[in-house]
Amino acid sequence: MTPTLQAFLIVSAGLFSIGLLAALSRRHAIFILIGIEMMLAAANLNFIAFWHFAPPPHPSTGVMIAIFSIAISAAEAAVGLAMVIAVYRHYRTTNVDQFNQLKG
Amino acid sequence: MSSALDQIFVHLKGWLLFLIAGAPSWLIQIVSSLINIVAVLAVFLTLFALISVLERKILARMQNRYGPNRVGPFGLFQPIADGIKMLIKEDIVPARADKVVHFLAPVILAAIAILTLGVIPYGRNMTPFTINGGILFFFAVGSVTELAVFMAGWASNNKFSMLGAMRAIAQMFSYELPLIIAVLPVVMVVGSLVPDRIVAAQGGYTLGVVPRWFVFTPWGATAFLLFFVSGLVESNRTPFDVPEGESEIVAGHMTEYSGFKYATFFMAEYLGMFAVSGLAVTMFLGGWRAPLGVLEFVPSYVWFFLKLSALLFVYIWLRATLPRTRVDQMMNLAWKFMLPMAFTCVIAAAVWHYAGRGLRGWLWALLVIVVVYSALSVLLDTRGKFARRIYRFAE
C-alpha cells in the first residue's frame, strides 16, 4: 500500500496548523518567524505532493514553485530577523506585546 | 591482471552479496549499503589514526625534533595509546550545561563528516552512494556543520565556547561562498552534479602527455586554489584556526569537552578534512585517474589515495609554516578577494568553453583571470598601511 495524495495533504495541513499555532500564541518575535517558516514549508510540501501525483504530461511547475518559494522564504527570514534585531535595539525586548509605539 | 586488481574490492563485494543471493531484494540492498558503510568507516578511521600520528611526526621533523617514537615501531601505535587514554578519561559535563545538546553536538559533527565521505568516488566503480546531485548533497549535509558547532558552543554555557562558536560560524559562513562558487565552473563545464561523471569528464590526455584534469586549465587552477584555501577554513586548520586558537580562547567551542567527546570532535575535524580534500581531488585533480597513460596499470584507488595523501601533506605543511591569521583579515580576504575571484572562475570557464576548449580557450581564460586578478590587486592594495581596526559589537 502506498500513501495517497490525501495523506500528504493532511500532514501538510497539520504542519500548517502547528505553524499557525506558533505564530498566533507565542509572544516572542522569533517564535512568530519560526511559525511563518513552518507554514511556508507546509505549502512547499503541498506543491511537491501535487507535482508528484499530477496526471501523465507531468509538468514540472510544482517543483519550480517550490524552489522559488524556498528562495523567497530565505529572503523573508533574513529581513524578518534583521527587523527583530533592529527592534530589539530600540525596545530592549523581543516581546511583541511591548512593541506598541510607532515612534522610536 | 591489472583490471582484476583494480576491481578487487568491487568483486569482493559482489562475492559477499552472492552469498545471500536468495534473499529478498530489500535485504540485499540493505546488506550492500552496510558493506559500503563498513568499508568507508574502516578505511577512514584507519586513515585518521595514521594521519594523527603522521601529522605529529611531520610537524616534529619540520621543527627539528623527533615526535612520538616510543609506542611500537616508529611510534606507529601512538593512536592506540591515545585512544585508550581518551576512553578512560572522566567525561565532564558542566553543571549549567544543556545536557542533551551538549551530548548531541559531537555526535552530529562526526555523523556529518562520515555522510559527506559517502559520495566521493574512491576508484573505478567505487562510489559508496551514487545519488543524482552528489555534489549538492555534499554541501547540503556539510552546511549542517555550522549548526553543530553552534550547538557545542551554546550548550557548554561558557564564554570561551560561545566566542569560539561565533567565530567558527562567521568564518564558515564567509568561506562557504567561495567554496561553493569555486565548484560551480566544474559543474558547468561537466554539466552534471554527479561526482562519477565529473571524474569521467577528466579522462584522456592532451597531446598524449598532459592529463585532462581541470587543474591544468587556468580557471581550474584558480578554482582549485580557492577551493583549497576555503577547505582549510572549513576544517578549521591552521592558519585559519581562529575559532579554537588556544592562545586566545582556550579551545573555542571544544573548551568544555573532555575524554571521548573531545576525541570525537577531533575525529570529526579530521574526517571533514578528508572529505574536503577528497572532493578537491575529485573535482580538480582527476579523481582516481592516473597522471600518465603508462601508469594506468596501477589500481585506481591507489591513485586516489596518493593524491589525497599529497593534499593532506600540504595541510600539515601549512600548519607547520604559517602563523594564525587575524579574524578581520580573514573576513576581508573572503569577501573582498576570494568571492570576486570565484565568480571570475565561473566567467573564465564559460569563456574557455565557448572558445573551443583548446589552446585558444586556454589563453582567453588566462587573460580573464589575469585581468581580474590585477584589477583586484590594485583596488585592494593598501600600500603597506593597514586601516585601523573598527570594532562593531553585537548588542
Binding site: L5, Q6, A7, I18, R27, I67, I85 | F139, L147, M166
Partner: protein, 160 residues
C-alpha cells in the same frame, strides 16, 4: 515509496514541529525546527524530488536556522521573561486544522493512485529553469539582492 516510511516520517516531522512551536526554551525550539525541516526534506526525497529536498536542507538548515540561532543570541537571553501563551491561538489552529482536514477528506478527486514516478533530474530542472522560468529566476535574484541590502541596512548601527 511505502507507507511505513511515510508514517514514520510524518510522526517525526509533526512531533518536531509541535516541539518547535511549544518548547519554552527558544534555542531548543530552533533546533526542533531544524528537525522538522529535515523530516520535510525526507518527504521530498520520498516523493522523488531529490533536488528540492537537498536545496531545502541547504538553505533552511544551513542558512536560515543558523540565522535564527544567531538572532536568538544577539537579542539576549530574555526568552524566560515572557512565558505568556495565548490559548486562543490553540483554538484557532485546531479549527483551521479541522476545516482543512474535513475539506481534504471530502474531496473525491484527491484519492489518486500515484502515477509512475518519472524522476526529475537536475539537468531537466536546470533546462526548465533556463527556458520557461528565466524571468521569475531574475526576479528572485533581484529580490534576494534587495533583501540582502535591506537586512544589512536594518541591522547596521544607527547614528546616534
Amino acid at each position: 515509496m511505502n507507507s511505513v516510511a511515510f508514517v514514520i516520517i510524518a510522526i517525526f516531522t509533526l512531533a518536531a514541529a509541535l516541539a518547535a512551536a511549544t518548547l519554552p526554551n527558544l534555542m531548543h525550539a530552533a533546533l526542533c525546527l531544524v528537525l522538522a525541516l529535515l523530516g520535510l526534506a525526507s518527504f521530498f526525497f520520498l516523493l522523488g524530488a531529490e533536488f528540492v529536498g537537498l536545496v531545502l536542507v541547504f538553505i533552511y538548515v544551513g542558512a536560515v536556522a543558523v540565522l535564527i540561532v544567531f538572532t536568538i543570541l544577539l537579542t539576549g537571553r530574555d526568552s524566560r521573561e515572557h512565558r505568556g501563551f495565548n490559548w486562543s491561538g490553540v483554538v484557532i489552529a485546531l479549527a483551521v486544522f479541522g476545516c482543512l482536514t474535513w475539506a481534504i477528506l471530502k474531496a473525491q478527486s484527491l484519492t489518486i493512485v500515484p502515477p509512475h514516478i518519472r524522476a526529475l533530474t537536475v539537468r531537466q530542472i536546470g533546462q526548465v529553469l533556463m527556458a520557461g522560468y528565466v524571468w521569475p529566476l531574475q526576479c528572485v535574484g533581484v529580490l534576494l539582492t534587495a533583501a540582502l541590502i535591506g537586512a544589512l541596512v536594518l541591522v547596521l548601527e544607527e547614528k546616534r
